[in-house]
């Protein structure tokens, strides 16, 4: 295999142990025991939470962006007549707010993984790579829920305080939760795909909105009827929530199955 005629070689000046610091010389063998998949999930989730609560990078940017969207909504609705009731369109406005805000957050969710190729460091660990997806998606769900907890009361006070909310308005929590899980799941998968592309912000939005359309449609319907109430409210609410939940299960399952292939590519 050698492509040259070898000639004798002088003794190389390889670094020797005499040149080492005392500390380096004390490096001892260590044992490892592969953690359970659930433990690895908790470690990765804990890393994302610790990092976010230290930098508040995603929460701050999503929170500010959500408030700005509310201001835009307010400006647009001010043009309507003084007696304009926002309630019939509130479901749609709430989900527009969530989708815009989540796009910003999802775009940022992998930026710190890319900065020093930290994601590659995680990929070098013997773990089921779908765990990376689950941990990241879980973190994104939590961050989105925090932003929703802050902005939705604000939405109520700005636009719905004068409206007659139905007694069933509390049920809106169900589509909010189911929709947030779906958005975070699909968004995490797409953010993984787009993280190393040029124009990742635009690409994520272009892929994300059509893909979450069925979820969005179901969640808007369920949220709207929960706020408006009515005798046949459950006839719309039940199927809409079921559609959103089925979407979540299918998309998260597909993401789980495909993630190893996607992240490796």
């Amino acid at each position: 295999m050698t492509a040259t005629e070898p000639t004798p070689r002088a003794t190389p000046s390889v670094p020797t142990a005499t040149a080492t610091s005392a500390a380096a010389a004390t490096l001892t063998p260590t044992a490892t025991r592969r953690p359970s998949t659930f433990r690895q999930y908790r470690i990765l989730l804990g890393k994302d939470l610790r990092r976010e609560f230290r930098t508040r990078e995603m929460l701050t940017s999503m929170g500010i962006y959500a408030v700005l969207v509310l201001i835009v909504f307010g400006t647009a609705l001010m043009q309507a007549s003084a007696g304009f009731d926002v309630l019939p369109v509130a479901g749609g406005l709430i989900w527009a707010l969530i989708v815009f805000t989540s796009l910003l957050g999802l775009n940022r969710s992998f930026s710190h993984e890319k900065e020093e190729a930290a994601l590659e460091g995680i990929m070098l660990v013997p773990l089921d790579r779908s765990v990376i997806f689950l941990a990241k998606a879980s973190a994104n769900v939590l961050f989105l829920l925090v932003v929703e907890i802050i902005t939705l009361p604000l939405f109520y006070f700005l636009f719905l305080s004068g409206s007659a909310l139905a007694a069933t308005f509390g049920l809106a929590i169900v589509p909010l939760l189911v929709g947030t899980i779906g958005i975070a799941g699909v968004g995490t998968l797409l953010a993984t795909i787009t993280v190393n592309t040029r124009g990742q912000d635009v690409l994520l939005a272009v892929l994300f909105v059509p893909l979450v359309f069925p979820l969005l449609y179901a969640c808007v319907a369920a949220t709207s009827v929960a706020l408006l109430g009515g005798e046949d409210m459950m006839a719309t609410f039940g199927p809409a929530v079921a559609l959103a939940a089925a979407y979540d299960v299918i998309m998260i399952l597909v993401s789980w199955l495909l993630y190893d292939f996607i992240i490796s590519a």
């Binding site: 492509a3 040259t4 490096l27 260590t30 044992a31 490892t32 359970s36």
Partner: protein, 251 residues
């Protein structure tokens, strides 16, 4: 759900007993129509130190990324310490450490948090002890609670070295590890290599011919994805190796 693999498990024992650190057979990697690696075959004995040299675009980093399971070969087979990288990627990952010119660290975590994260993911039995030991080895104990973002390039690279050794890998892959290191950091790294090379195998990618030659027990020269030379370094002197390198890559 609990899945426990001890270091003393059967695959590990097989790896420990493996005669070869690396067995590469007809390895090719193509990006579209461009062949980055073209039918490479070589076998590196356990405990060896391989230096991979070649010009930019020769396929050095691609080869290293395949060995690290970060890229998939287009064809051919690679066995790392007796484990096939396609069939047993997790077994391979448990045994390798990778030091790249990018640190693979989280800048917004402290030095200690970065190492603890890696130690816990690998399942190091006493993570805190191991982290303290490695921080001492790379002389970063005093900065353990500082964010990695606040580190100089040399300190970041030292922390990356500690991270790569956290799980006591049997094979360490080094991609231009001296990039950005100041003389002191290079000295620390050399010292670590000197103490560790008796107990593990190394693969080094370097543009520094002399450094690679001095460290290596085996030399591998790549040119446009093809193997030009694979030989024990004892069979060569630096002048002839250097001459071959420049004949091959030009310049």
């Amino acid at each position: 759900m609990t899945e426990v693999v001890e270091k003393t498990s059967a695959p590990v024992a097989a790896a420990a007993a493996a005669d070869s650190a690396l067995e590469v057979r007809a390895l090719s990697k193509a990006f579209g129509t461009r062949k980055a690696l073209d039918s490479l075959s070589f076998e590196l004995p356990t405990g060896a130190f391989l230096a991979i040299c070649g010009a930019n675009g020769a396929g050095k980093t691609t080869l290293l990324r395949i060995l690290a399971t970060l890229a998939r070969p287009s064809s051919g087979s690679v066995s790392v310490l007796g484990c096939d990288i396609k069939e047993q990627p997790d077994e391979v990952r448990a045994r390798i450490g990778f030091i790249s010119h990018r640190s693979m660290l989280y800048p917004d975590l402290t030095a200690e948090e970065n190492l603890l994260l890696a130690a816990r993911l690998y399942g190091v039995v006493e993570p805190q002890t191991r982290v303290s030991e490695l921080l001492a080895a790379v002389e970063l104990t005093a900065r353990r609670y500082d964010l990695a973002r606040s580190f100089s390039r040399g300190m970041t690279q030292r922390l990356a070295i500690a991270r790569a050794l956290i799980h006591d890998p049997q094979l360490v892959l080094l991609d231009e590890p001296y990039t950005g290191l100041d003389p002191h950091a290079s000295e620390i790294f050399d010292a670590l290599l000197a103490t560790q090379r008796a107990s593990r195998s190394f693969v080094l990618v370097s543009h520094d011919l002399r450094k690679g030659f001095e460290l290596a027990s085996h030399l591998l020269l790549l040119n446009r994805g093809k193997l030009e030379l694979f030989a024990p370094s004892a069979e060569l002197d630096f002048a002839s190796f250097s001459q071959l390198y420049y004949q091959t890559v030009g310049g």
